[in-house]
Amino acid sequence: MLRYVATRFAIWIPSVLLVMLAVYALAFYGAGDPIKLIFLRAPGDVAYNPQRIEAIRESAGLNKPFIEQFGYYVWNLLQGKFGNSLTSGRSVWALVKAAAPVSFQLALCSIVLTAVVAIPLGMIAALNQNTRTDYAILGSALFLWAIPAYVAGPLLMVALIVLFPGAKVPYGWGGVFDMRILLPLFVLSFQPIALIIRQTRAAVIEVLSEDFVRTARAKGVPEMMVALRHILRPVLTPVVTQLGLIMITIVNGAIFVELVFGLPGLGRLTVQALINSDYPVILAVTLIGSFLVMISNLLVDILYPLLDPRANDSKRSR
């Protein structure tokens, strides 16, 4: 088991590096000279003084070849140095450190909410396949999937204020136990919930046609226990493998949800950086987002053999 985890990890590291390299290269060649970018923002004497620019470039190591700079960047990253924001001049690490807890808590809550809501709903839909219940659940899932967060968010906000005039406007951050988290949490979870409902439903329908479910019934196992022990268990495997995809939808969704509901998280940081073309920040949040997704995928890889005993026997190609 430990060896398996170690190999997974060993395969994982180069992928992370490669993503970093790709993102860094894009920013490096696309954005152009960061020093120029800084001084173009605050035009002064320096911007028109090539010698001084050159001096700063040299001291910052910016005249070195690309790969060396990339190595330097990675080395700094490992020490928690992300560089400085072009707009505020503050260290990117400080910005990220302030914003990340908000996003992480939100993401974690969203994953829990998704699991709690979507897996039972998906099962109910599948067990009532082609009935009204099924269509209602499936239709809602498709609807939730299709409705963008920046449409759902404002509309729900309006609805909430119209329906409950006394309610606190769900704007801003007050921690996980603050009522204001509810609306953004739900909006953020719409897509993951829709995804998992459909995944669970499809997986349950597939399992339902399996012979071993019939065996369980032939043994006289009560329906409830058939659903929990014989259907849910095998269904969890394909559902858990969706974690990476869920992470992507959450990271994507957070950008809009945090913007709409005024949450000081990574998503809002991204938008601000984007508007200001603040490359160090964009680079940092992209890397963090990718890292989250890749960590999720690694987690799935590690969890997989625990969920499916067959996976241990080199039957991983399912």
């Binding site: 992928s15 490669l18 993503v19 790709a22 993102v23 894009l26 920013a27 060649y29 696309g30 954005a31 152009g32 269509y135 239709g139 498709l142 609807f143 999937w145 299709a146 409705i147 963008p148 920046y150 449409v151 404002p154 509309l155 309006v158 499809a202 329908i205 597939e206 012979d211 990476g244 992470m247 992507i248 990271v251 994507n252 950008i255 809009f256 709409v260 991204t270 938008v271 984007l274 508007i275 073309s277 490359y279 964009i282 680079l283 949040v285 992209t286 987002g289 990718s290 989250l292 997704v293 890749m294 995928n297």
Partner: protein, 319 residues
């Protein structure tokens, strides 16, 4: 197992089974899918002929009639510059379809090519391409687009500038095209992996069939295998994928416009209209509601259609 085996013939038609006709029959019975198809066809019609149908020009401003509520003259009201929101939404449909179709076409081209190369030539191409695919898919696509977009903007602008200097063709001075190129390019660069995976999987599954191995041993060329076996088999899943992809591309485009990195004003896009509407929704909710509703409708329609197509073309789970 036994059950399936005991009655394979039940429900099959007498005439030779035609996949496409069968799929169409299945699709017709799916009300949600037909609803989706209807909306998509309607939107496509609006996208093509819309500009000839709208009562107002999408750019013409009527400062006398700003922020008007919906009325007969202005079905969806007017915005802060007195522009007709209905006409803008209609023109936004055009933007959405243009982006969706171009992006999907580029992504399809990249994806099928890479997928076919990976499937046919195997390692090392396969390994590299699959790595690229996995990587692209493991970066949150919105962030990747943001990076690509931010990176490409300057080079494209510079290139357009030099082209204009060289040719003096006014086309290169049209800054709108920078937006479109950026959107096309960055979105296509994140949209191809599903197609690549799909085509590669099809190629691999076809290649492993004994009769293909035999045919290859006899010297059948890859191109013939591709045209005769891979393409027909991959078409169904690809159609499903494309239908879903078109919807995703539309939502993505509006998302970027919403964030201010997509198609910029004055070109109307649902996303930048929503973004504008968000600022004033307390006073003029129609400015938010109209584009948001149309975008939601389009997205839901594509999603219903894609789902219905999936059920119709891959009928495995429906029996």
């Amino acid at each position: 197992m036994t059950l399936v085996e005991t009655n394979p013939a039940v429900g099959e038609e007498d005439r030779p089974v035609n996949l496409w006709r069968d799929a169409w029959h299945r699709l017709k019975r799916n009300k949600l899918a037909i609803f989706g198809l209807g909306i998509v066809v309607l939107l496509a019609f609006v996208a093509i002929f819309g500009p000839y149908l709208t009562p107002h020009d999408f750019l013409s401003q009527d400062l006398q009639a700003r922020n008007q509520a919906p009325s007969l003259a202005h079905l969806f009201g007017t915005d802060d510059l007195g522009r007709d929101v209905f006409s803008r939404v209609v023109y936004g449909t055009r933007t959405a379809f243009l982006v969706a179709i171009v992006v999907t076409a580029i992504a399809l081209l990249i994806g099928t090519t890479l997928g076919a190369v990976a499937g046919f030539f195997g390692d090392p191409y396969d390994r590299v391409i699959m790595w690229l695919t996995d990587m692209t898919m493991s970066v949150p696509n919105l962030l990747l687009v943001v990076v690509i977009n931010a990176s490409l903007k300057t080079p494209i602008a510079r290139w357009m500038e030099t082209q204009y200097m060289a040719t003096l063709n006014p086309f290169y001075r049209e800054t709108i095209w920078i937006d479109f190129f950026l959107v096309f390019g960055s979105m296509a660069m994140i949209s191809w992996p599903p197609y690549a995976r799909l085509v590669r999987a099809q190629v691999l599954s076809i290649r492993s069939r004994p009769y293909i191995t035999a045919a290859m041993a006899l010297g059948l060329s890859n191109r013939i295998i591709m045209m005769r076996y891979v393409v027909p088999n991959a078409l169904g899943p690809l159609i499903v994928s494309v239908s879903a992809g078109l919807g995703t591309a539309m939502v993505l485009e509006s998302a970027f416009s919403f964030l201010g990195v997509g198609v910029n004003p004055p070109t109307p896009s649902w996303g930048n209209m929503i973004s504008d509407g968000l600022r004033v929704w307390q006073h003029h909710p129609h400015l938010l509601a109209a584009p948001a509703a149309v975008l939601g409708l389009a997205s839901v329609a594509f999603s219903f259609l894609g789902d219905g197509l999936n059920d119709a073309l891959n009928p495995r789970g429906t029996k």
